[in-house]
């Protein structure tokens, strides 16, 4: 996926003079995940900008650039370090259009690697995307595959409004997938059915989509047909797709590694019961990270959902 994102950034920089990349270590080193590798060499330090360690400054400056007519793509090194920039995002990035009644807009993209499963140090496994989904005025999307990453990032750059683009760290080097050459875009705000299933649907996004598919494989061996819906967009949630999937089977498992309380799983469960209550054969099962700090390497696997936990929840819905 890192490669696909790099391609998207390359295409964006090449095709639009207004595109600027800014973040910590994005230039000389090509980013701590090498996602911006080679871009500064190709497009120069004026357009691929190494910024001081100041997240609020990075987002705030990118915001100003966007209002001024550029198309900045800001990178925050890890989601755990995005909090200092949260005020800029909630108070200004997501509001300038409203505040100026459309006179000024902030078409910027904020790229943020997120999520656990790699045994990283504290703050490096955050999955607090619900906070951004709860923030008015910004779209929040999460690719699960290289293909989606490239198409969604190019769509995000084209979008006339701010987009928070969350990149699952675990998937950067996972999934060697053929990605179409050149430019293509995928619609923002739409979920994707990645697997059909008649007994139940597993709703997931980001790195959890792969876990959901693994769970579906396990379930298949038991004769349980589980579909998988990749949300792709957390704000807005593609309610129609979620509700349609829920109605089809009447059983829903929603998976996220974010904390449980007021997380994305709660939103999906709320939507399903709101619009598909009478089709439900069992409660929507929330498989989530816990309301704890993400544990460090030695016990992290007890926090991040995996196939068995998902399958177990799925089996419960079958009993319902």
């Amino acid at each position: 996926m890192a490669q696909a994102i790099n391609e998207a950034l390359d295409i964006a920089l090449a095709s639009d003079e207004r595109v600027v990349v800014i973040g910590e270590d994005v230039g000389t080193t090509g980013g701590v995940f090498r996602v911006t590798d080679g871009l500064q060499q190709r497009y120069g330090a004026e357009r691929v900008v190494d910024a001081p360690v100041a997240e609020s400054g990075i987002v705030g400056a990118a915001f100003g650039m966007a209002v001024g007519g550029l198309r900045p793509i800001a990178e925050i090194q890890f989601l755990g370090f995005a909090y200092p920039a949260y005020d800029q995002i909630v108070s200004h990035v997501g509001r300038i259009r409203n505040r100026s009644n459309h006179r000024f807009t902030a078409p910027l993209v904020i790229r943020i690697p997120f999520g656990g499963g790699v045994g990283a140090a504290e703050h490096h496994s955050e999955s607090s995307e619900a906070i951004f989904a709860h923030t008015p005025g910004v779209k929040v999307v999460v690719p699960a595959t290289p293909y989606a990453a490239k198409g969604m990032l190019l769509a995000a750059v084209d979008d006339p409004d701010p987009v928070v683009f969350l990149e699952p760290i675990r998937m950067y080097r996972a999934l060697k997938q053929e990605v179409p050459e050149g430019r293509y875009t995928l619609p923002l705000g739409k979920a994707e059915v990645v697997r059909e299933g008649s007994d139940l649907v597993i709703v997931a996004y980001g790195a959890m989509v792969r876990e959901a598919q693994r769970a579906a494989d396990v379930l298949a061996t038991e004769g349980i047909s589980a579909g998988v819906l990749d949300l792709r967009s957390l704000s807005p949630v593609d309610e129609d797709a979620v509700v349609a999937a829920a109605r089809r089977s009447g059983r829903v498992v929603v998976v996220t590694e974010s904390h449980r309380t007021a997380g994305m799983a709660s939103e999906v469960a709320a939507v399903v019961q709101e619009r598909a209550l009478y089709s439900l054969l069992a409660p929507v099962e929330r498989v989530t990270g816990w309301d704890t700090v993400v544990p460090l390497k030695r016990t992290e696997r007890f926090y991040v959902p995996g196939p068995e936990r998902i399958a177990h929840a799925a089996r419960r819905t079958m009993e319902g």
Binding site: R18, V20, E46, R47, V49, A51, P52, A54, S56, G57, G60, A61, A62, F63, G64, M65, A66, V67, G68, G69, L70, P84, D87, Q88, S91, H92, I96, R97, N98, R99, S100, N101, H102, R103, F104, T105, P136, G137, K139, P160, D161, G189, S235, P236, V237, D238, E239, D240
Partner: protein, 347 residues
């Protein structure tokens, strides 16, 4: 650090005037007009015709002096207290009034007016001016961005990050801090242990200037130099304009709780408008009748704006959903229907 002053408190000129009497008269009119707006708003708020209002009486020279140094197409990024500067840079009174009335339509500045709606979050907007100036440079324009903020803003982390980015990337940004003595009830002496706010500039590798913010001429000279530097690609400047908020923090504030009247009276003697009047009179460029003329014109201008704002057709409630994105999201469309269905019931 020495404070730059060109017009003495008693209005006598020290050194050369940066502008001629004609231009001085124009800016005097602007200061008076700003003051008329300020008084009107305070009155309207008492009558319940405006929500909370933040008066700027006493800061007219700092604001008009800053805006006067700009080119019409330069960016201005200012606060809730900077109506005079915003207006002088092209932001209409009616827009400013609508904002105070709680109507989002006020936020739409006319095309070509590069003034952001006033920023309420203390400190956060400085970096916007950095990004705006930066974007102009990358687009090959020589527009610059000037940001106005208060002494209180210098305590926020965002002040630091904005100053540092401006220094590192040498952006065409002019930072004008109106040190008006207080952050609500906090006197500036208790906001920092530094002798002057201007002392902070060296930590960012940029020039820091201390100027009498109640001296229109000094403001024009100092801000003018900073704007020229920025436009010539010589980078940012930090300016501490020492002034004083004669009124309360806002119409809901009781300034008597944290300052005594003698100090306020002392500052009234340093009034920025009186100072220019005295100067103009001495230069035979002022007389009673002219002032009553322009005062009447100013009052009429403000009244017209008030009438226009109050005559505007009601704001369509569902516009709140349209203001969020170029195209409302599916979530917002659903919520709009819900509002249609039953949201208006409590209205």
């Amino acid at each position: 650090m020495e404070m730059i002053r060109l017009l003495d408190v008693d209005g006598t000129l020290m050194g050369d005037a940066p502008i001629d009497p004609e231009e001085t008269r124009r800016l005097f009119v602007a200061m008076l007009t700003g003051r008329a707006y300020d008084a009107k708003c305070t009155a309207m708020q008492k009558q319940g015709r405006l929500a909370t209002y933040a008066p700027f009486e006493g800061q007219e020279a700092a604001q008009i002096g800053s805006a006067a140094a700009l080119r019409p197409d330069d960016w201005l990024v200012a606060t809730y207290r900077d109506a005079a500067a915003m207006w002088f840079q092209g932001y209409p009174w009616v827009n400013l009034l609508l904002g105070r009335m709680g109507d989002e339509r006020g936020g739409f500045a006319p095309e070509g007016v590069n003034v952001l709606p006033s920023s309420i979050t203390v400190g956060a907007h400085l970096i916007h001016a950095v990004g705006l100036g930066w974007s102009e440079r990358l687009q090959g324009s020589d527009r610059i961005a000037l940001t106005l903020f208060g002494d209180g803003a210098t305590s926020e982390g965002d002040f630091h990050e904005a100053m540092n980015f401006a220094g590192v990337f040498a952006t065409p940004t002019v930072f004008v801090c109106q040190n008006n003595g207080f952050a609500i009830s906090m006197p500036v002496e208790r906001q920092t242990a530094a002798e002057h706010l201007a002392d902070k500039a060296v930590g960012y590798g940029m020039p820091g200037t201390l100027v009498d913010g109640n001296d229109l001429f000094a403001m024009i000279a100092v801000v003018g130099d900073a704007v020229a530097r920025a436009r010539n690609g010589e980078g940012p400047t930090f300016i501490e304009a020492v002034t004083y908020r004669l009124g309360p923090h806002t119409t809901t504030d009781d300034a008597g709780r944290y300052r005594n009247d003698e100090v306020v009276a002392e500052w009234r003697r340093r009034d920025p408008v009186d100072r220019v009047r005295t100067y103009l009179r001495a230069a035979d460029a002022w007389d009673e009748s002219w002032e009553s003329e322009i005062a009447a014109a100013a009052a009429a201008e403000i009244e017209a704006a008030v009438a226009e704002a109050e005559a505007l057709e009601p704001l369509e409630p569902s516009a709140m959903f349209d203001r969020m994105f170029a195209q409302p999201t599916s979530a917002l469309d659903r919520q709009r229907s819900a509002l249609r269905r039953d949201g208006a019931l409590d209205a």
